[in-house]
Symmetry: C3
Subunit: 411 residues, 3 copies
């Protein structure tokens, strides 16, 4: 076997790395499903799990047939088009096959859409949701990926640094979730006519915790795996893993301190969201910031998510699992924070404001895409009877619960 070339060995190494990181990312879908199921009412738990299975199954097929070509086809900077998985050179200079690259990119697409499922929980019918999933994974998310990660994308060309997707995945998903929550309106009974807000607590926090640990675990595929290869990246992978951990830990600790200071009690639901907020915030910059900056970003994220959850609730936007605050707000924060904290190009370390400007421009453009989602949602609702999809202001649970006698799931 001495005739093996070093290129063949490098291909082997990078294939092992990406295939297993992709599996870890895939596993996060179980995490999304259980986190969201635990944070809502029991009657709708299987409904949300079904939606996450739709994210994976239907969203995955859409990302295969159309989405991947939109994201990574030959791009004019704004969009591209290609069917299935191209066999040509994607221009990314990787040692892995296009098929394997597709498989890890699939994980990012599924994560983005699974963020939305949480925010629209308990009040969207399955078929309407399925239509949304298809469009989102075929066109909406891939456009953002094209801009940010396609070698010809306009944001990529400007030096936008979104290493593992605080903007392209989390802000994208979080603001789509915002649009969905606004279009659907709140769950019945959440906001009273006299202005009082009635919390609707999660039915099974241990189940949600299983989900949180699965997500935390998967993030160590999500961020380090975004190197897309291990050869030559032995120092970078260590840096990314450590930053990812430190930001999540700091997010958890700052939420504990903040909720204790604010409410006299530690709110464990929020601590879980604080950990996730830290993870979302570090996702864009884990490759360019130092460990001290990662801790500071995590500490900020842990407070930011608490404040955002309250503000969003006061705006009478009903987000049962906090997806908008965790992924939208902290995706926004994390992307901009790269312009502040990056060791070389960041404002705080003498890099000037150029990176900050690009980061802000990029993530704001991606975030305001929520208007597109809002309009698309309104269109679906207008046509409610035909597609029987959205049911504004009403609870899905009334009609979508599991038929207990027959073991069937009523759509």
């Amino acid at each position: 076997m001495e005739e093996l070339t070093n290129l063949e060995l490098a291909r082997g190494i990078d294939t092992v790395w990406v295939a297993l990181c992709a599996a870890l990312i895939f596993q996060m879908e179980g995490g999304f499903a259980l986190l969201e199921a635990g944070f809502i009412r029991a009657k709708n738990a299987m409904s949300i799990i079904a939606k996450v299975i739709i994210d994976v199954a239907l969203g995955g097929l859409a990302f295969y047939a159309i989405g991947f070509g939109v994201a990574y086809g030959a791009s004019n900077g704004w969009f591209a088009f290609d069917y299935g998985i191209s066999t040509g050179d994607l221009g990314l200079g990787l040692n892995i096959s296009n098929y394997l690259f597709w498989f890890i990119q699939l994980g990012f697409a599924m994560a983005a859409i699974s963020i939305v499922s949480g925010a629209v929980a308990e009040r969207m019918r399955l078929w309407g949701y399925a239509i949304f999933v298809f469009i989102f994974c075929a066109v909406m998310y891939p456009l953002a990926a094209n801009w940010v990660w396609n070698p010809n994308g306009w944001l990529a060309g400007m030096g936008f640094n979104d290493f593992a997707g605080s903007a392209a995945v989390h802000a994208m998903g979080g603001f789509a979730a915002l649009a969905g929550a606004i279009v659907l309106g709140p769950r019945r009974g959440k906001y009273q006519a006299d202005g009082t807000i009635t919390p609707i607590p999660g039915h099974n926090l241990p189940l949600a915790s299983v989900g949180a640990f699965m997500l935390w675990f998967g993030w160590f595929g999500f961020n380090p795996g975004s190197t897309l290869g291990a050869v030559g990246n032995w120092e970078l992978i260590g840096q990314v893993a450590v930053n990812t951990f430190l930001a999540s830990a700091a997010g958890g600790v700052s939420t504990m301190l903040y909720t204790y200071y604010r409410y006299g009690q530690i709110d464990i639901t929020m601590v879980i969201n604080g950990v996730l907020a830290g993870l979302v915030a570090i996702t864009a910059g884990c490759n360019v910031v130092g460990p001290g900056s990662a801790i500071i970003m995590g500490l900020i994220a842990g407070v930011l998510v608490d404040v955002a959850v309250v503000v969003i609730d006061r705006m009478k936007i009903d987000d049962p699992v906090g997806a908008i605050a965790v992924h939208g707000i902290n995706g926004l924060f994390g992307t901009i924070a790269v312009g502040l904290f990056a060791s070389e190009s960041g404002l705080f370390f003498g890099g000037g404001s150029a990176q900050l400007g690009v980061q802000t421009l990029g993530v704001v453009v991606i975030a305001i895409f929520f208007i597109r989602n809002y309009l698309f949602g309104l269109y679906l609702i207008k046509d409610d009877r035909r597609c029987a999809s959205f049911t504004r202001g009403r609870e899905c649970g009334d009609r979508c619960s599991i038929s207990r006698n027959r073991g069937l799931f009523h759509i």
Copy 2:
């Protein structure tokens, strides 16, 4: 360190790949346990989890002491024998150690036996089950592995393509499950004297969903890991991962559409089984079919499992978790489908019918092994009082439930 040879590097790469894929496969046992526990009644949930622990612990020891030698010892084409883990050359041309090869093969053996535990759920005592596990992992499964994967196996010699075990693992386990379900008879109250069938729904679908996501995750070790090495396989691993995903997604989608068309509702229990059916169906051929074929195979598997569950139920064979339909029927289908869809040797792509003939022969021979299991089961039942194992037509739950006050598990 410049004196490292490329062979040493290749051994390192393949060891990392196989060790971690084997860990992912091992993790599937948790998935089997929870899926089966969630799909049955609460009173027997811990009983089924105990059985899966027996699959792993006792089955693993049996596969160490006897099974591995039966599967991978020097074979005359039909069987072999050797104690423990041989230190000699197995003739497989791998870069990994025999010990590590044993560890990944262990995962396949445990998967096969864990399929059976689901079909005999709620009505088999632990000691009887333990005897069955020992025999299955020491002799029954290893014989199938010998034929299919031993370099001298008679099916291997005929060009039988069962890449990760649709036949050797899933059909083998699924038809052993069929034998068990027939021998034991149905749970009390399932089939009425007047011919009506009373469904016994699962008690905890979110728990079953945790299990399903764990299985889905583990399959990305199961199928890609069956390359048994990454060096030289950088394209194959991508192909296998993508095919595995696409078939599972298509299986989930086709079950959604079918159950909606058939019952006016999406049956989420069946959607989980549809995803698993797609995974089982692609397992034999994920290395030789294209992505379009994987989708078609998944679509077929997703409907096939729905129909099979109903047919098996009408035959008054009580399979509480659908293991026969998922693993037996789709293992059969997936193995034969290689003869139809394989890019080079398949009937549909100009390869003629030779591959189809071999595939059909091999899987049918493995499937009819269920007769052996059936007779073995009858023998155990005949001798019920001595081994206190099988309790035909009665529910184990009545006597095997957990003693709540003492935290003990009554066998």
Copy 3:
């Protein structure tokens, strides 16, 4: 790419191996959380999960800021000090970056502290626990790691073999757990004035089983990952994985047989602990014993844990999850067993008693550290009103339960 040196390739291989094993170890924290939550009463389930999140978040930050330097800084044999993650040569001869080495070491630190959380479950307030976590991860555990794994550590210098930490992690954590359980006293109602013992069974064994399977899975990162590199270790990794499995399987089987023989019933809670006991016992010596020895060690561990649980209970030390028996007693046993069973240096295979002496000395020194924890605990209790931390002899649940109406977690 032909200009890649073999050193660069080796760095890539070892980085992939350690990064992914570290992720698997990290995932064990979810396992600890769920196992402990399932084994205690429902009212305190979220409290214990919160404590494990504190283990990870606060413990991780302490291990970053202080602990790593205490463990792996320039050591005089007994202790060291350094801030954060050193960029200098640690003297370990590894191909991975210091950052990545920190990340896998973090997993060991978190495992050690998470052992304690189980033994003090249901009767310790969060802030007091947080103080303990910080001290433990900043100083206590790192000292043990220094002695055992620092190239200059005094035990390392004597040839102490604690491959993946039966002593440094499990005995260390298990005896700290013993100190905590003694200081806090038992839960109200556990031990009656007339000497009777009232068992307080776990509230959710399926949840605990999820945790057990997660731990079992993670152990295949924990032990094989302790090679800290794959290049040159292709045979060792196989040996470690096989020994790890065989000991766990034997532990599960021997507990089944023992509890059936002793109580006429299989105790499934104890079977889970038997599997874990086998894993703990093999952790020190998985690199130097043969598979037959691994099975014998597992068989002993599976009985030892049953006996230890009963003895500890009779001593009126209340350990709700059995952490002292699983990790403390079997960590002690496993470390000493290296001196008996090691293929080259063990007493049973002609190696004389030198290794046995070193093993016994090392683990006993680590174990008697529990006195330090005991005194530290007494100090905290004495000062109870100031830090509001320990509440001797009272149940935390009364004051620490989740406020159901508000979804908040009362500390």
